[in-house]
């Protein structure tokens, strides 16, 4: 297929995120966050496995609103851990994969952020600590997410749920919201990336 050369002539059936992936109308200037994300996606991970730039920007903006030194929970370690730690938040990161967790910690050590981060390997059935100011839930494969979402939703008043576009994930999130008295707020416009992925928030009613 030959793509039109002039982006203004592109029909509206092409989503703006697709345009972004083609390098047209890029709404994300080369900020330090973007530079760090691009570096992370080419050295530590890749843009498929890592949290999307759009979601990272949202997390970054939200992290700014939290008081420095606040405790946050990061379920699924990686770039999100760095984003939260860079605002001086105390991050407790958990992951199902001990090797991956170690890799993240080594990276954070190189970034001089390890002092802000505690870590824990999680397996289904393990408790999830509570009492955080904020939590990000993006840990493990889809099939295990329904196992811990309810616990994750109890861990903080505001919980970011990534991969909400996936119906198994969104169904599990709505179930957990029922069980924990939270409401779901989609972040489709704010976090949708070129793959069509987007996040949502679970917030106290």
């Amino acid at each position: 297929m030959t793509l039109p050369k002039d982006p203004k002539r592109v029909t509206h059936s092409i989503h703006k995120s697709s345009l972004r992936r083609m390098g047209w109308g890029d709404p994300h200037p080369k900020t330090p966050l973007r530079a760090a994300w691009e570096w992370y996606c080419t050295t530590v991970s890749n843009d498929v496995m890592a949290i999307s730039l759009e979601a990272a920007i949202w997390l970054d903006d939200h992290a700014r609103t939290l008081p420095a030194g606040a405790s946050v929970l990061d379920l699924g370690s990686g770039f999100s851990t760095w984003v939260l730690a860079r605002h001086g938040l105390r991050v407790h990161t958990m992951d199902t994969d001990a090797v991956w967790l170690e890799r993240t910690l080594q990276w954070l050590q190189r970034e001089s952020m390890a002092g802000l981060v505690t870590s824990q390997v999680w397996a289904p059935g393990d408790p999830i600590p509570v009492g955080f100011a904020f939590a990000s839930a993006d840990m493990g494969e889809r099939r295990i997410r329904s196992i811990y979402y309810a616990d994750a939703f109890r861990a903080a008043p505001v919980v970011f749920v990534d991969d909400f576009n996936d119906r198994a994930v969104s169904c599990a999130a709505y179930k957990a919201a029922h069980q924990t008295g939270k409401r779901i707020q989609e972040l489709g416009a704010e976090t949708r990336d070129g793959f069509g992925r987007f996040g949502a928030l679970a917030v106290d009613l």
Binding site: H15, N46, V48, M49, E141, R142, S146, D163, F164, N165, D166, R167, A168, S170, C171, A172, Y174, K175, H178, Q179, I184, E186, G188, R192, F195, G196, R197, A200
Partner: protein
């Protein structure tokens, strides 16, 4: 009056002509290529012996192409096995599968395949908001709501 070609020379000319024509060349071009006079091939095309030579040549070429394809398919298979065994490519395949999984394009899920097309236009909330816990549990187990 031109000298009549001997049977051996006639056969040699037929082979030259058949090889050239099998490559899509004209009689004049073949004659030029071999330093022969224009019209040297006159009358050869109608000869049944020429048709037999041409048919044999085409058959031979076809079998050579088939043999080459067999060799190439073996090479292609080997390349595929090499790629599958290469750790970095495995990572790439895993990453590709992961994104397919995360966007709901799992090979095993018909329900999700249909919804992938809708990602971006159908808010997930519209489907799940206001549903009872029992409905959501039914969906989580069966991939559809009760009564659907």
């Amino acid at each position: 009056m031109p000298r009549k070609a001997t049977p051996a020379r006639r056969r040699k000319l037929m082979i030259l002509l058949a090889e050239g024509q099998a490559q899509g060349k004209t009689q004049a071009a073949i004659a030029r290529e071999h330093g022969l006079k224009q019209g040297v091939f006159a009358g050869l095309v109608a000869d049944p012996e020429y048709q037999a030579i041409l048919d044999g040549l085409i058959k031979d070429r076809r079998s050579r192409v088939l043999m080459q394809m067999e060799v190439m398919s073996a090479l292609a298979l080997k390349a595929h096995v090499d790629i599958m065994q290469d750790p970095s490519h495995r990572d790439r395949l895993a990453a590709a599968e992961s994104i397919l999984d995360r966007t709901g394009m799992s090979k095993t899920s018909k329900v999700q395949q249909t919804t992938v097309a809708a990602v971006g236009v159908t808010p997930v909330t519209a489907d799940f908001q206001g549903r009872s816990l029992a409905d959501l549990e039914h969906y989580a187990t069966h991939g559809r709501f009760p009564g659907e």
